[in-house]
Point group: D2
Chain length 404, copies 4
């Protein structure tokens, strides 16, 4: 009986054996992830055991249609899983979510004869997809040859590239100044993925760098037809990315609130000048929790609403028009802004209701703020607000880009 031990289990924790892991629910996985999340936040590095549990659980096939062997989940369902995982481990949630985003990237930018075999192999071989697409990092360039392209250069913020089986890679086709995106096996010669991610938050996302040395990319691996952002439908890709972020932000905040509440109820001391009998009856403490609740309740509805619109747009396939895509873009941006602001407020203020003793490093409660603070910098909230203002004032939908 094969047993995967998570890196930090001190003998006592054992992940379920492989024979039964396929039936591990998201909730069960979360229990496992939660038990070591604080320690792994300290250690950083690759959450190898957790990634393998995800592989074994079958959840990596969640967004793949049933006809290709997947679970055929809606995006609302997949995002709900992302958010649930983010409550206990936002690093693992990120690489899990981006795996599905990268599958969707192939689907939206490529041909069926491309993505169908990739989907099927993802199911059969339990592939975990990793990211090397960062379009703002233009150091990787592409040279066209007959039937193939040669990618060379560096790429930063390659979340989940380590321990991945497939990579979505981008390069700048220098002669035409155009972004070329391709799917390649991570293990191919010419690809070096570095474990150089050491950050103040999201410490197990492996969002470090990669280098390509004369990497050979076959034409059939290039997502050139219909290609990136080629239609309103293809332009759903950045919206899915943004919606994933909103769900992770929200999950982090929900996790923080749950942990703060547990602490306040059981550990926090009533301030000596408080007329209340306990910290959990203190009027000021209650008002803070009221504000936390109110903030999260709005963020939750906005995020769920955006996901529902997203699923409806996804169903349209190439029939999707600019206006419907625009409505999704507005809803997604709105949700992301609110989840970002609400979460940052909550993860910083949670200490005011848990108290001084809750800052002990043993609890690592600061990881909620650190994870959220890092992740919410993906793209500036100021420019999201500008876009939303342009919508509210001038009735212009956000201009599609890799961030809108």
């Amino acid at each position: 009986m094969a047993v995967i031990e998570t890196g930090h289990s001190a003998g006592s924790l054992r992940a379920p054996d492989l024979a039964t892991q396929r039936t591990l629910t998201v909730q069960e996985l979360c229990t496992v992830f939660a038990s070591t999340a604080a320690q792994r936040d300290k250690d950083g590095g690759t959450p190898k055991a957790e990634r393998d549990l995800l592989r074994a659980s079958g959840l990596l096939t969640m967004s793949i249609p049933v006809e290709h062997g997947g679970q055929g989940a809606s995006w609302q369902q997949t995002l709900a899983a992302v958010r649930e995982i983010a409550r206990v481990d936002s690093s693992v949630a990120h690489v899990f979510a981006f795996h599905h985003l990268l599958l969707a990237t192939a689907r939206l930018f490529g041909q069926r004869q491309q993505w169908q075999p990739w989907f099927e192999q993802t199911v059969q071989q339990r592939w975990f997809w990793g990211n090397a697409l960062n379009p703002l990092d233009e150091r990787t360039t592409s040279i066209a040859h007959a039937g193939w392209r040669e990618f060379s250069g560096q790429k930063s913020f390659c979340s989940g590239a380590t321990d991945s089986d497939m990579l979505i890679v981008s390069a700048l086709q220098a002669d035409i100044g155009k972004l070329v995106i391709a799917a390649v096996p991570t293990g191919r010669a010419g690809i070096a993925v570095f474990q150089d991610w050491d950050n103040m938050g999201q410490r197990q996302t492996d969002s470090g760098s990669a280098r390509f040395d004369a990497l050979r990319v076959e034409e059939g691996e290039v997502l050139a037809d219909p290609g990136p952002l080629s239609s309103p439908f293809a332009c759903l890709r950045p919206l899915l990315a943004q919606l994933i972020l909103a769900n992770i932000y929200l999950g982090i905040a929900e996790g923080a609130l749950a942990e703060a509440g547990q602490y306040t109820r059981t550990q926090s001391r009533r301030w000596h000048a408080s007329p209340a009998a306990s910290a959990s009856e203190d009027l000021y403490v209650l008002a803070h929790y009221g504000e936390f609740h109110v903030g999260l309740a709005g963020a939750r509805l906005l995020t769920d609403h955006a996901a529902a619109l997203f699923d409806a747009a996804w169903q349209q396939d190439l029939a999707l028009g600019d206006a419907q895509r625009g409505e999704v873009a507005v809803a997604v941006a709105t949700a992301k802004v609110v989840a970002s602001k609400t979460g940052l407020d909550l993860t910083s203020r949670m200490f005011e209701v848990s108290g001084a003793r809750s800052t002990t490093a043993a609890l690592r409660f600061d990881r909620y703020w650190r994870n959220l603070r890092v992740h919410t910098l993906h793209d500036p909230v100021d420019y999201k607000l500008r876009e939303l203002g342009d919508w509210a004032l001038n009735a212009r939908y956000p201009t599609p880009s890799f961030y809108s």
Copy 2:
């Protein structure tokens, strides 16, 4: 052909004649209301013409079930009408909404043999119901006689009592310290409704005082069985009141945003130091609008969500349990807090995107803030947050009262 002229139409505006008024839609009514709203805000007093348009429109029967001659609208539909009216005239929206609240009060606190004839006469005689219930004002007392009660004393904040046909009145039954609530014709001897409402906002709600001098209230008019707050179902009454407030707050904010946007697009001048070509392209202006959009989007979803839960609870009738009622209470309180805070922010900051010249008294843009500021003081947001905190932290539902 009878023509109702609204008080401030300068000859040019004429309300539709009575023969066709029944088919006036909410949208059409709003157009009429909007045309004089600023002037009526200045004048204060009773919106008699607007009240009569509502009578004529049939909208006063909106929440009455079809079987009793009404339109059988859901609360979601009725509240949508309230919000739409509040966008252009929050005073009229208030008396319209409270009319329906008072019908619901009879339904929730009384017997079918009581409310059924009231409902039917409301349909047939186009009754407009007014409010004299304020439970915090205990100056009106009730003395029990054989078969009737005698109400005497004063009552404040009697919104919509002026020009009403029926009143919901409360009195303190002194011997038992219990609130007695009854429905009586406004015109009955012993009732004096004063037109003494002069306030900084909500100026046409007639929320002034009333006095009862040995008012005779028949037992059959007293809502004693099942009585006020007698069951989770009866306890929906305060939730409907709070949900109405949330919708009015939201409507005010939506109306303010619409008016500010129109002004910015067409009138506002670009600040001389701005690099933008116009005020409506200024980066700071856009960010403000983005924030307004984000705030309203959340408030809207929360308010609609609460209304959906409310309708579901209403369907339960006496089968409604504490937990489901509690869920509605939490959702309603959340929506009200957000609508309040979002609206106050927007109605104050809107001037920063419309500019100095938009403060001319001719526009009366300040009425949005004044109306909202006054109305959001109905009950303190601090104590709503306390309740929500008690829910979020201690899993306690709000304790039912006339405000929760």
Copy 3:
């Protein structure tokens, strides 16, 4: 015995007789102004009685050096008087303050042979100066003739022009695109001052429009040498204007806090769900007051600090350098931003500690917010923050202009 009756005294209030008015202190004037401020806010129009009290009090000579017959007050002292008046009447405070600003304008932009006689006549004839300078309104143009100029066109936002004795006027010298500023008697032929100010706030500032019809302006009345913004010293003029605004904003907020506090202590009712014995002991009420105090304490120190720097710079006269002027500009802008934000928050939130009944029109508590809301739109806070950011990040002083 001559008695000046203020317009709205209902027989009972009598202003001190003229024989003793010269010795009326600012505090005594404020008592008089306060007694009618709410009513005058309702009425709008020119505060003629109050203007005459100011004339009689000698306070219009406050900033004029002793050698020219004035009181020789420092700007710190003059601004303290402005702030004190603003606590009870921000309209009167504005025209009072701008009178001194306009004297300073003559001093900073003109020659001694120009301003000395104006100063002396202001003392002797109790002149009240009014404003017609608005540099953003370029509708008034100037044509040069031999020895005089002809001003024609309109000008908006002419605060205090009504009932003034002298005006500072600006016109665009069309051929050279340059602003020409002059001081002329208000009564001169060719000047029409309109009483067309009807605004949601600052209702007695007479900030309406003026029109010039071939107004003859003598060369000796033109402030051409050294001229507007001609040196760091001359560039103190906009800083004085901004500093006046900061003091008025702060005064409004202080007045609002004083009135709210008085009401909470004596009138506000404890919320029924509050565990406190009275509204003034309620934990949430106290926290709001704590926040108000904290906000005002900072605004006060910043404003006083800026005034101290301003006085020191003023003492430098033409020796004033760019750096010292820049330091003053930064301090003034900082104070103005804080006074603006703090005041808007306080004047809107004050109702949450005074309660629903404090919204009665009889009290007109909303005038604090209305006055501040209007006045804080003088120039956008966003662009002040941009300037301050450029200072904080890039160590660049604000570029002098009529607003910086």
Copy 4:
């Protein structure tokens, strides 16, 4: 030539040799501290090298009067040094400041014959004082014997006790329920100081626990006459503690702003959608910096103002009255609240102007927020606001306690 090497100098950094260290200025010390602050934040533990540099610098005698061999600095000067150190290392600033607080504790609670020799030995032997006073931790009790007392039990949050020469210790005199405070050599038998501080912030303050096992405390070491909080003058002690906190909070925020600014100017990338030429010219970035500047400017004036009032009160010695002490208390509380809120906002938002790449662990920019977040939990800001509200509304000074 003796050379002290700071723990993390990689060979290149050498602290000045002991022969010249006495003349190390605060600024020079800060340069040394800054060079290793990020690494030491990572490592935690005792800043032994830095403590020894402080000993050698003579700064530990700063607040000791000249007549006793000290530098005779005012509290304003001492606090300025604290703030300057906090900009680069808030842990070292804390133990440095509390050293002076503990000297002041002896001065305020004890007799001259007690503190004079302690002061003189502090000068002569370069004593560093540590803290074991936490009055909220009542686990250490005192038993009275003839001429001495026996302290036993535990004590938490003993900042700077490790590597200290003298300790201020408190114990609960069980029979009378009164706090007993004494000064004892850290090395005395019966005292165990644990290096068990592992926290998310302020990681080198050694704020761990101590245990006393039948510790013998001589009567002459007990600060019983005049004793803790025995007079308005003695009640300056908690105000000094709070004022130290305000200065540290402010220093942290100032340090964060300096570092963010440096990064934005030299490293941050302009967002691709920004119309600006560089990040440091982006309108949104500038507005953020403007807000940071505005917040800090107010906090700085409030903190300096409180320190000036504190020095004046300190000069009063036992003549200090309740009212003057109350004024200081209000000013100190105000400063602390503002420094806390401003700093938390800045240290979290600084990343929005430095950008995603500034989150690399190599920079450890998150330590500003972590340090401030931990330290601002010393006592709840909510209850400070309550006190300030009680002052603003009810004109009651804060009731003296160890936190007010």
